[in-house]
């Protein structure tokens, strides 16, 4: 087969030169390059487009690599700040809830949860425990007909042997209820001022000395109620004193009225209380009866409700302010 004139000049020349050389290893003659350039393949049309697509993709990826970490860092910062906001908000809500539950406890004291913080005494005085961890000394329900009652009699005191000589008192019957109630009320009246002062002082001073544990387990069984009371006392005070101590133990303040006030709207009332009352503790004020009557008028005018805890008011009235924003 021979190469005819149809073939391109470069190829022809190339083949001619190829066949003119017998042995390429020994041949010194140069064959110029590019004689077969006719064999160059045409590039597919889509090649350039697809190359540029890939380049664009790569560029985007490169941009993401550069700006990705910056964006991620920004996201993290935003997330952290947002989380902090939520945390602050939640703590605010929690504190609000706490305040709400406190108010609830102060206003109604018959649910089991409230037992540790609210105590109602025989004389109707209500105290709010400011130290929630402390175990309540005496628990009596508000409703005397339904709820168990503890008979605080027959205490046996043994200063040296704490907890070794529990006294059990049983059989507090319905017939004795009135008697007990009257006794407790008269006792509370006579010791009202004394016990309030003692509550603050004696509980602190005698904290180490006297520890009395009174447990009341009573079952309301129609007319009969059984109460178990265990008492351990160190000092040999008389029964009334112990009673008063047990009533006023654990940093608590008895108050007669609770008033819900707004810090912003009821500034005048708050100022009046602060001016004319004696601050006993945070949110607890002692007012004379006269001043209380003036305050009562102000409250009525402004339509502020006053939650009665105990109306045992002779010379002075203790009020608890429930302040809101």
């Amino acid at each position: 087969m021979e190469l005819q004139g149809g073939a391109r000049m470069g190829e022809k020349e190339y083949i001619d030169k190829m066949f003119s050389v017998d042995d390429f290893e020994k041949n010194e003659e140069e064959i110029e390059g590019g004689l077969l350039d006719n064999l160059i393949e045409e590039v597919p049309e889509s090649l350039h487009e697809s190359i540029m697509k890939k380049i664009d993709k790569h560029k985007n990826r490169l941009n993401f690599k550069i700006y990705g970490p910056i964006a991620a860092a920004a996201c993290i910062i935003i997330a952290i700040s947002f989380q902090n906001k939520i945390f602050v908000k939640s703590t605010k809500i929690e504190s609000k809830d706490e305040a709400k539950s406190e108010r609830k406890l102060a206003s109604s004291g018959s649910t089991p949860e409230e037992k540790n913080t609210t105590k109602v005494y025989d004389n109707g005085m209500k105290t709010e425990d400011t130290n929630a961890k402390e175990v309540p000394s005496t628990e009596l329900a508000k409703n005397m007909s339904n709820v168990e009652k503890s008979k605080l009699s027959g205490f046996e005191f043994n200063g040296s042997n704490e907890g070794k000589n529990p006294v059990e008192t049983r059989g507090v019957t319905k017939s004795n209820e009135d008697k007990d109630q009257a006794e407790a009320q008269s006792l509370a009246k006579s010791n009202e001022n004394k016990s309030q002062a003692e509550t603050r002082d004696s509980t602190k001073s005698n904290e180490d000395k006297s520890q009395a544990e009174i447990r009341d387990i009573a079952k309301s069984n129609e007319d009969k109620s059984q109460a178990k009371t265990q008492s351990i006392a160190k000092s040999n005070d008389d029964v009334n004193q112990v009673k008063a101590r047990s009533l006023t133990k654990s940093n608590s303040i008895a108050y007669n009225f609770e008033i819900k006030l707004s810090n912003e709207k009821n500034k005048d009332i708050i100022e009046f209380i602060e001016k004319n009352g004696e601050k006993l503790d945070e949110n607890f004020y002692k007012l004379s009866v006269n001043n209380f009557n003036v305050l009562d008028e102000m409250l009525k005018k402004q339509g502020i409700e006053k939650i009665t805890s105990c109306e045992n008011t002779e010379k002075e009235v203790i009020i608890k302010l429930n302040l809101r924003e």
Partner: protein, 182 residues
């Protein structure tokens, strides 16, 4: 626009400059890939891969050699990697011959297309090293120096490899019925 300026612009991530630059090299890269891997589809993919490599590493081009040499070297190495991955000798794409529809006429006249197809077929029969130097020298028309830079071998080695490759190609042509022309 001058190639050097385009390269400078490419270094600053100028997409348009790269597009202009790569446009002038697409054909060269594609052909090298095609003759090395003996397959159009793979050559297509390898050309893209080479272009991406060029785009990524153009900032590393110092200008010690010609830009075209640098581009060829990237393409050559990309193809070598591909061949290593495949390991097995790639079968010659018979389509190249078939698509040109070789018809041996009764009067023994060979048309230009037919000659091209036969030469192409003969080149494809060569081993990878010979094929590469034939592409670079006889098809692409590069100088010994450039080939030496691309293949990272001595110029003397390039020359002797080209001679042996041509001898092998001549043998293949004879096998395929090509004799000395008029």
């Amino acid at each position: 626009m001058e190639e050097r300026k385009l390269i400078e612009r490419c270094r600053k991530n100028d997409r348009d400059a790269f597009e202009t630059l790569i446009l002038s090299y697409e054909k060269k890269i594609y052909n090298l890939c095609f003759y090395m891997v003996k397959n159009k589809e793979d050559a297509f993919d390898l050309t893209q891969e080479t272009a991406i490599k060029i785009y990524k590493s153009i900032s590393k081009f110092k200008g010690d050699s010609k830009f075209s040499t640098w581009v060829y070297r990237i393409a050559y190495n990309t193809c070598l990697d591909f061949i290593k991955r495949k390991k097995d000798e790639l079968p010659y794409d018979d389509m190249i011959v078939n698509e040109n529809n070789i018809n041996y006429r009764m009067d023994n006249v060979i048309e230009s297309k037919e000659t091209k197809a036969i030469i192409k077929k003969c080149i494809m029969q060569l081993n990878s090293d010979y094929r590469t130097v034939i592409i670079l020298r006889d098809i692409s028309g590069l100088s010994y120096k450039e080939i030496s830079d691309i293949l990272q071998i001595e110029i003397g080695t390039v020359k002797s490899r080209i001679n042996r490759a041509r001898q092998a190609l001549k043998n293949e042509l004879i096998k395929n019925g090509i004799a000395r022309g008029c």
